[in-house]
Amino acid sequence: MNSALIPVLGAIVYLVGMRFYASYIDRKVIQADPKRATPARMYADGVDFMPTSRSILFGYQFKSIAGAAPVLGPIIALKWGWLPGLLWILLGTFFIGWVQDYTSSVVSMRNDGKTFGGISYSLISPRARTILLVFIYVYLLLIAAAFANIVATTLANAPRVPLAIIMLAIAGVIVGFLIYRGRVQLALVTVIGLVLFYGALFANGTFNMTFGSVHTNWVIWLLFALVFSFFGSVLPIWSFVQPINYLSFYIILIGMGAAVLGIFVKHPALQQPAFTTFTADGLPLYPILFVTIACGAISGWHGIVSSTGTSRQLESELDARPVSAGAMFMEMILALVALTVVAITAPSKGVSPDKLFGQGLGSIFTYLHLPQSWGLAYGPLMITILAITILHLVVRFMRIATNELLGRAVPLLRIPSIGTVVALILTFVLVTTGTFKYIWVLFGSANQLMASLALMIASIWLISEKRKAGFALIPMIFMYLTTMAALVITCKQLLQQAASRADLAGKPLAAGTVIGNWVAGLIGAVLFVAAVILAYDGVKALVRFSRLKQGAPAVGKSN
């Protein structure tokens, strides 16, 4: 199959989804009203609530939701062949993904810009908020573990990447100071930062600078990633996290732009098999594919972003569809591009995702008359940057969450560095003792459960407003059941292996891996129980609102 067809299919799904399905829901079900004041216009406090133009918000939403997962998920799912991943990305986004993003921002917008915690408290039950916040904390821990693992593996595999990442950090700090203390123009600062970064990359390529025997030591790079995240968590955000993420945007944009250009210039045939086997690497296609490819089809992270940042910046109700739904469809395109990049590579066994992406990008660079070695280096670099920029943000959130959830009981946890160290220790234990394929599946499961909970909140709100809820309720049921099935299968395998101290093939496991399996299995069990309780409370709320007569006020309704 011609590889250019994949992004073209994506563009068709984007246009049809936005023009017909999303537009219908926006007009007939939600009944977006341009005359109704949004929280951004009502409150406009210059801190959280700021009316922002639709195009700016679209870019902001897209950048906030697009991380490493829409790129890595399709690569990891290639073990089942490219066709299952392609179908899930297209159909998942069309029927479920945009619905989740869109309804999350609409529900928050129509409830004074409240977050899911506040909305679940009033719509579902008081304990729903507590469970949801604990759930989000565990979810953040799994993100940190998955992405720290990716960073460590990629840095250990790719000799040219570590120096570039160190240079990115240095360039980021310099850029931060130039912007906030030096008051230098943004365009000039951007050029300085990128010159520093690309200069280091080329110098490394020319002089082949590596770190000797340390280079392939995975644990050293894991510690590097965690120390990097420590700085990201405790330093002022303007001095480290923000400028690094700012420069990273351009680095990723250049790589993705080159990938899209190369695909359309050469449109090579896909070499990977369309379908391999139902059970790959011990994991069945259903339900595991649906949690392996999370962002790119549907993701709970988007619901959090939509309900906190975006909903408080919408200038008009009419902007919710192009911003939230549009950004989700755009992320679908990103996932399709990543899938295409790896699908054009020759089939091979046991190649890590970063190497596979590098091989694909290397081929694409040759189509653009650039050296293949640039692509082989740039691919893993992009993966590392995508992962590490999310990692240090997530560790920062974990530090704040630790303070909020446990700060009163244990005052020591209010100290930023101590809260951060706690989060990093948990991450280190999970990464060093766990198996990546299970950590990724647990991360995906937590992500998709978060998405089904967001859809549940949206469904309950729609029913409380006496609106048609089928378009959110049916996807919610599908996602919930699929994700719970994935959790059951994963936990069963983990706990079985932990109890028998051997893997699925009967090979004995190291003591550390046995502990890791217990820890990961128990985390999965905690997620399962939390999801069951939330679903129970959610169903009670659904029944309660269904029985309310038309016009009767529901508990805690503000709109």
């Binding site: 801190v47 912007i179 906190t308």
Partner: protein, 93 residues
């Protein structure tokens, strides 16, 4: 002529939207953070000077009264922000 003007306006709007889109991806969160920092400093100042409105008397009333005419336009926004229900997911915004 009118058609040409329409096409030019459409092209201008498209160009403007593309510029805003790139700005949104690259720099909007930085700009937003800077505005939030300034807003938070302002609200902290009002808390110190007018905290007794929320039951937190910090400054002696004489100084609060001297500053009152300057902060009156921001008081309702400030109160709403201070008393609004928050959780840690707000930091993601």
């Amino acid at each position: 002529m009118a058609d040409k003007e329409k096409k030019e306006k459409k092209g201008f709007r498209l160009g403007k939207s593309l510029k805003e889109f790139v700005y949104g991806m690259a720099a909007h969160d930085t700009a937003r953070f800077a505005l939030k920092t300034r807003g938070s400093m302002e609200h902290l100042f009002i808390l110190i000077t007018m905290g007794d409105m929320l039951g937190i008397p910090i400054l002696p009333p004489y100084y609060s009264l001297r500053l009152l005419p300057y902060v009156v336009p921001q008081i309702s926004t400030w109160k709403r922000r201070m008393l609004r229900e928050k959780d840690f997911t707000d930091t993601l915004a």
